[in-house]
């Protein structure tokens, strides 16, 4: 009896360890998946012990908002002043502007087949009006982005075209179920985009899903709204209840309005009226660079400058040989020189020249159309025109030019290059921006010069928007079935190596049959007094992702 009892009550060392091991194995994943409170799930952006707290950061950027709905916007005028008041699910690390790190989601998982994204949300996060942040807010935010109501236009909608359903698993867990997979970098980039700020479900419900005229809607961000004076200044104060304890460093953020490349911006910065200036003109930037106690940085911007050939209206321009001839007739080094005191630019082809999948710069510069010596390109252009039956050139092309300084300067230079190199004569027609888009949409042009912004650097974003058969920015009406087929495969390809090879193939197709004529890719010039610490945008891509100022301090 006693032996029997012993066998039931005594626990051997092996049994004990096995039991504990099994128990730990069962409990541990549950603990890991249990969303902890905000402070228990620290952000990768940790407060710097060396940072000085307090003070005011005076930042100058374009803030002339046409409306207040960040998600409906496509301009720095919104994202510049409003972003510090909001957070995103994921974000780009301010250290390099590239690495994607958690934000309101402290953890995420991607299903192996790429068809499900699960986000684990922080607990204890509050909106500025005191309401709790929950998965319902994430669902409402992304439902609106993916499927906007009538009268609401969100430029990032196509990035979420494959989001079939957004499911709230519990108040702090949300799943995005995809109809088909997309490359990891593409989707994560979309979630981390500075445009996709999280707003309250109630805010959206109360305003019919349209925030264009709602000036101060609550966010969860590091700064809270204090005061706004239209086209003057937007003042914010530190959010004392910010979930990332210890941030932000500065007590007050004053964001002054100064149009890009303007004398107002230059004079505000050079006279010390502001601490940090974004989008300086090249002349002021060079001067700032020479100033003591000032740092000046240049970085890549998500904008292509290009002109379009109307293939629907003009038979000659529908011939790929003529378009390639026009492409080769451009002396791109000279074009960059023409605007060097107006806006900073760099040479590129049909994909962002600084993207890891695009043709490396050294190789691109060996290609016809990008070389410093343009004679071989011009010879080839003339041969192509001859072959296409336009050896005598073309006359009377209507060249529509947006009334912006860089385009006006370029249009004259392009006009001269076309005439001199391939005897194509154009009549310049300078129009206001709003008229340009009317004319482009109606197809009232032969050539038209403008610029396009993209949200992601990923080629699939631009292949659908710029070059897609019905792409919103395919102003020339370009159709190339093999390209569209390839672009569709690139969009779905999850293997990075295979995808890179396919992108290079797509670039080659564009070289032979140009969907547009790339002129240049924009750069951004920033400068700041050295009392501003915690941000150096040199490795950034664009001005739309790292825009929150929570990691910046003033000495």
């Amino acid at each position: 009896m006693s032996e029997q009892r012993r066998s039931h009550t005594a626990v051997s060392r092996r049994t004990f360890l096995r039991t504990v091991g099994i128990g730990a194995a069962v409990v541990a994943p549950g603990l890991a998946a249990t969303p902890a409170r905000a402070q228990e799930t620290p952000s990768p952006i940790r407060p710097d012990p060396a940072a000085k707290r307090g003070g005011t950061l005076r930042y100058a950027v374009h803030t002339a908002v046409a409306h207040y709905d960040v998600q409906q916007s496509g301009t720095v005028a919104n994202i510049g002043p409003q972003s510090p008041m909001y957070d995103t699910l994921l974000r780009r690390d301010p250290k390099d502007g590239q690495t994607i790190i958690p934000d309101l989601a402290w953890k995420y998982e991607i299903a192996p087949d790429g068809k499900k994204y699960t986000f684990y949300l922080r607990k204890g996060v509050k909106f500025h009006d005191g309401a709790d942040f929950t998965a319902e807010d994430v669902k409402a935010t992304f439902d609106r982005i993916a499927r906007p109501p009538k009268g609401v236009v969100i430029p990032r909608t196509p990035l979420f075209a494959t989001v079939g359903e957004i499911v709230v698993v519990n108040p702090h867990q949300v799943e995005f179920r995809m109809t088909e997979p997309r490359p990891r970098a593409y989707m994560l980039g979309a979630f981390a985009s500075g445009w996709n700020i999280i707003v309250r479900k109630k805010t959206l419900d109360d305003n019919g899903g349209n925030l264009r005229q709602v000036m101060n809607y609550p966010g969860t961000g590091p700064f809270k709204h204090v005061e706004r004076r239209d086209k003057e200044v937007w003042i914010m104060e530190r959010n004392q209840n910010y979930w990332n304890k210890g941030l932000p460093y500065v007590d007050r953020l004053e964001i002054y309005h100064a149009p890009p490349f303007s004398p107002e911006l230059a004079s505000a910065f050079l006279s010390g009226k502001v601490d940090y200036a974004r989008l300086l003109d090249p002349v002021a930037w060079r001067r700032a660079k020479e100033m003591k106690g000032v740092t000046a940085a240049a970085f890549n911007q998500s904008v292509i400058q290009a002109f379009w050939c109307n293939q629907k209206k003009n038979k000659a321009l529908n011939d790929p040989r003529v378009r390639r001839a026009i492409h080769l007739a451009m002396d791109r080094n000279a074009l960059i020189e023409v605007v060097k005191d107006t806006a900073p630019m760099q040479i590129g082809g049909f994909v962002y020249p600084f993207h890891e999948m695009s043709t490396p710069k050294a190789d691109l510069e060996k290609k016809l159309g990008y070389q410093k010596d343009i004679k071989p390109a011009v010879q080839e252009a003339r041969r192509l025109m001859q072959e296409a039956g336009y050896g005598q050139g073309l006359k009377g092309l209507d060249f529509v030019v947006r009334d912006i300084q860089t385009f006006k300067l370029w249009a004259v230079a392009i006009q001269a290059m076309l005439k001199e190199h391939i005897n194509v004569e154009t009549n310049l027609r300078v129009v206001q921006t709003s008229v340009w888009f009317d004319e482009a949409a109606a197809g009232n042009f032969d050539l038209a010069i403008s610029a396009i912004v993209s949200t992601l650097m990923d080629p699939s974003d631009i292949f659908s928007a710029w070059y897609g058969k019905n792409g919103p920015q395919n102003y020339g009406g370009w159709v190339n079935e093999p390209f569209h087929d390839l672009a569709s495969r690139i969009e779905k390809e999850l293997d990075v190596k295979k995808r890179t090879a396919m992108v290079r193939q797509a670039e080659d197709m564009c070289e032979k049959d140009p969907p547009l004529i790339p002129v240049a890719y924009e750069q951004i010039y920033d400068a700041w007094y050295n009392k501003v610490h915690g941000q150096n945008p040199t490795p950034y891509f664009g001005i739309y992702d790292v825009v929150r100022w929570d990691q910046v301090w003033v000495s």
Partner: protein
């Protein structure tokens, strides 16, 4: 007098109704889509026809033009002056916030123009073809010829590069900080005032030369009156009438010129708001500001007419 005022008021009202109709129609027939500014170029490119219909309806732009015009008149009558298309701010608030700055600039410019133009004109007229007259004429022609915005830019750049100075970058009202406010308005006021002063100098010179040759001036001299008293007490008041007339007209130029000069100095006044609204195609703001400028012009001209009677007792209305 009362009858005259009534007649002028009715005439002014007719002028303003005419201006309102012209600006209303012009802004609506001009090519260009205001939705480009609202949605941005990327949003505009992705806009579906149904979105357009909805947004145009929300903005009231799909209503018939007479309905839109009457709605605007109602907004004027209620004092709201309508709302900006984009952000929903009322135009009244815009005018109340930025108007004082532009009004200060106009008033100071007028004072500068008289302070500079009148003495220059008198000095020129007293010694015609002398060295002072020559200098005054050359300088006045220079300020008439040089565009105000260009001069403004030069001043801004010179102050910035030589002294690292820039005026305050946001509006500082005179009741908030008079010194900072003065820094903000003095530059545009001087540039505009010098240009208008040049006209006043030219006009006062020619008027004074004409009056100085009158019999009563010759009589005063024959009686041995002091030359300064002859010019300032007898000749100048009679020479001032055309100068006052031109000042009324010049105020219109100051208002028009302030649009470019405010831009050059980066002063956020009404002129700059008008430029931005035109670029954005915010037609509600544009039509109200243009109407405001027209109303100021009409009122100033009525005051100029009334000042004739005060300056010259022979004139009665």
């Amino acid at each position: 007098m009362r009858k005259y005022l009534l007649r002028r008021a009715l005439f002014g009202l007719g002028t303003l109704i005419g201006v309102s109709m012209i600006i209303f129609v012009v802004l609506r027939v001009l090519p260009g889509d205001p939705l480009v500014a609202i949605l941005g170029v990327e949003g505009h490119a992705r806009m579906q026809p149904a979105d357009r219909v909805r947004i145009m309806a929300d903005l009231g732009l799909s209503d018939p033009l007479p309905v839109q015009y009457l709605r605007w008149l109602r907004d004027i009558a209620t004092g709201q002056l309508g709302k900006s298309f984009f952000r929903g701010d009322t135009v009244r608030d815009l005018i109340l916030h930025r108007g004082p700055l532009s009004a200060e600039i106009a008033l100071l410019a007028l004072i500068v123009s008289w302070l500079v133009g009148l003495p220059a004109g008198i000095a020129s007229a007293v010694r015609p073809n002398g060295w002072l007259d020559t200098v005054a004429r050359v300088v006045s022609i220079f300020f008439i010829a040089v565009p105000g915005f260009w001069l403004g830019l030069l001043i801004v750049l010179a102050l910035l590069f030589w002294f690292g100075y820039k005026a305050p970058i946001i509006i500082v009202h005179v009741w908030e900080n008079p010194w900072q406010n003065l820094q903000q308005v003095i530059g545009p006021a001087i540039v505009l005032g010098l240009a208008q002063g040049a006209y006043i100098s030219r006009m006062s010179r020619s008027c004074l030369l004409e009056v100085i040759r009158e019999d009563y001036v010759r009589t005063a001299r024959a009686k041995g009156a002091d030359e300064r008293a002859i010019v300032l007490r007898h000749a100048l008041p009679n020479a001032l009438l055309p100068v006052i007339t031109i000042s009324g007209v010049l105020l219109g130029f100051v208002l028009g010129g302030s649009v470019a000069v405010e831009q050059a100095f980066g002063v956020p006044g009404l002129g700059r708001a008008l430029v931005t609204a035109i670029v954005e195609r915010d037609i509600i703001v544009v039509q109200n500001l243009v109407l405001l400028y027209a109303a100021i012009f009409v009122v100033v001209n009525v005051f100029v007419d009334l000042s004739y009677a005060w300056l010259d007792p022979r004139i009665r209305y």
